[in-house]
């Protein structure tokens, strides 16, 4: 189809992580997320990388697939790393060179290099872990169900949690459909001699009109049809709606929750002992 969307794609292996309750995964990732931002030095990052690696191994998702999912983000990661190398000031000056005399001088400090490395590590572990827990090992439906439950208490202060979750489910559900549609329309217009890859910026933007207009029209048509279909089945929001599969926390889900908490505790402890931070 010409589109490779690996981030956000379910990959069935039937592992423990796949079967776990989405809420447990949400809590685990919440702890992991906080831990990556609390982490300050090489030791704690090594520990977090280890946790991420073990997660990937347990999920049985091949490393190749995980790396492929990270590929589109390579530019962002590289850019962040470069920013850190050139703009972080520190104590130990390594290289200094002049780009434009008397105007722009670039200093590279040892701290900048370390920072760049840690920043890259932070983004990569976080993305790898999130993609394993949330996209490869959790179906979008399970994820939004989990989110709905997770944010359930907010209903008390009149936040339309169910409606948000439903919107998210529908949006996720239609991503592949729309991608498919786009490639079909592109093919149809290519067959009529459309050329999307040559000419200047304006010519290329204009060449997109024959794709965008039919795509929007079909998206609106689908939205309307879906709304009608939902109304025909008496959908009227979350109140009084029951579920076919009730989420239930099992023993293994509490274990996952605990492991998440332990990861965070581990990072905090490393910070305390290795760097002498006070709690």
């Amino acid at each position: 189809m010409g589109f490779d969307v690996t981030l956000g794609q379910y990959y069935e292996t039937g592992s423990v992580i796949h079967r776990a309750d989405p809420r447990a995964k949400l809590f685990f990732m919440l702890f992991f997320l906080i831990a990556t931002f609390v982490a300050k030095d090489v030791y704690s990052f090594a520990f977090l990388t280890l946790v991420a690696l073990i997660s990937i191994i347990i999920s049985k998702v091949p490393f190749r697939i995980v790396l492929k999912g990270l590929k589109p983000l390579f530019i962002i990661i590289a850019f962040t790393a470069l920013l850190n190398v050139f703009w972080v000031k520190g104590q130990t000056l390594l290289v200094s060179f002049t780009v434009i005399p008397n105007f722009w001088r670039v200093d590279v400090y040892k701290e900048g290099l370390i920072n760049a490395g840690l920043m890259t590590q932070r983004i990569v572990t976080l993305l790898a872990a999130t993609s394993v827990y949330f996209s490869y090992a959790t179906t979008p439906i399970a994820l939004t169900d989990g989110l709905e439950k997770f944010f359930g208490p907010l209903k008390k202060i009149k936040v339309p949690v169910h409606e948000f979750a439903m919107m998210m489910t529908i949006a996720l559900r239609f991503i592949p459909t729309l991608i498919d549609e786009t490639s079909k329309i592109m093919n149809a217009q290519k067959a009529r001699g459309a050329d999307f890859s040559s000419g200047g910026l304006i010519k290329r933007a204009k060449a997109l009109i024959p794709i965008i207009i039919p795509l929007f029209i079909s998206a609106f048509r689908r939205a309307e049809e879906l709304a009608t279909a939902m109304e025909c089945r008496c959908y009227r929001g979350g109140t009084g709606r029951t579920r076919m599969n009730e989420l239930k926390m099992k023993f293994r889900d509490y274990v996952m929750f605990t492991l998440g908490a332990l990861t965070l505790a581990g990072v905090i402890l490393i910070n305390v002992y290795a760097n002498g931070y006070k709690i």
């Binding site: 079909k184 093919n187 009529r192 001699g193 024959p210 039919p214």
Partner: protein, 288 residues
């Protein structure tokens, strides 16, 4: 006149993922010139993938696509020219309309080819005529038309490019019987006047029997039959085993033959069946 030759085409979707599906498994097929070739097959048999090979929308994993004696993938940069030579109308083409007026939409293809405006006016009028689009519709917005009319506009848009070979994926899908007859009849008329090669993909055996000169049958990514209508529709068992049907009238002929009435087995149109039965009845009378 042009013809397409496919040599041992293979293609898989989702390569190197757990969802890999082999869509084409060594298909060799020659599309003859100056006739209508039908491609039939069950859903998922690889028909749509196959025809996207014809104009280079898809590149085969292995095998060759030869048009007018030239391998189209030898010069990948000139694949655009192949698309002018092989016009393609995709499934449900009414969803590709975008222009402000029907006229502009039909003119989109020819304009991409760099044809002069006077010639475009000619071609728009001609192809609108073949597809049965009334003149007053030409200046309307394509989004104000009915589904069947939109389909015709999309078809006219490809015809206006005046390709040597016209490929249509399910041109009559989802239309009522009258709409089907009008669209397919228009295509047949276009073929007999222009003497071009046409390829039609369809599920409907009746339509195929009525409008095609040759038929290719796909099953599970393989080409299992290729011949004229009589040859293909007389092989009832093979068609049924591929999950396909034979035309209704062939079923009747089959039932008659089972009752010991000796009509020829290779009948696939209502007119042919009427003739055969009349002959049989007359023959019997003469015999008495």
């Amino acid at each position: 006149m042009s013809c397409i030759e496919l040599k041992d085409i293979r293609y898989s979707y989702g390569k190197k993922t757990p969802y890999e599906i082999c869509a084409l498994d060594g298909v060799s097929l020659t599309v003859k010139e100056n006739c209508i070739t039908g491609i039939i097959g069950h859903t998922g048999s690889g028909k749509s993938t196959l025809i996207q090979m014809f104009n280079g929308l898809m590149k085969p994993d292995s095998g060759k696509v030869i048009i007018d004696g030239e391998d189209i993938w030898e010069k990948p940069k000139e694949i655009g020219k192949i698309r002018y030579k092989v016009g393609m109308v995709m499934q449900y083409p009414e969803y590709q309309l975008f222009a402000e007026t029907v006229k502009d939409d039909i003119a989109y293809g020819p304009r991409n080819m760099g044809i002069s405006e006077e010639e475009i006016v000619n071609r728009v009028a001609q192809s609108a005529n073949f597809c049965g689009i009334p003149e007053d519709v030409l200046s309307k917005s394509p989004f104000d038309l009915s589904g069947g009319q939109k389909r015709r506009v999309a078809l006219a848009g490809v015809m206006a490019m005046d390709p040597d070979i016209l490929v249509l994926d399910e041109p009559a899908a989802g239309l009522d019987p009258r709409g089907r007859r009008e669209i397919l009849g228009g295509i047949k008329r276009y073929q007999s006047e222009s003497k071009k090669s046409i390829v039609i993909v369809s599920h409907s055996m009746e339509d195929m029997a009525m409008y095609c000169d040759r038929i290719a049958v796909m099953s599970k990514g393989k080409l299992i039959m290729d011949g004229n209508c009589a040859e293909v529709f007389s092989q009832r068992e093979l068609l049924l085993s591929a999950g396909l049907d034979v035309p209704e009238i062939s079923n009747i002929i089959y039932a008659l033959r089972n009752k010991g009435i000796s009509v020829p087995a290779d009948i696939y149109t209502v007119d042919g069946a009427v003739d055969a039965i009349v002959n049989y009845v007359r023959g019997n009378k003469n015999g008495i």
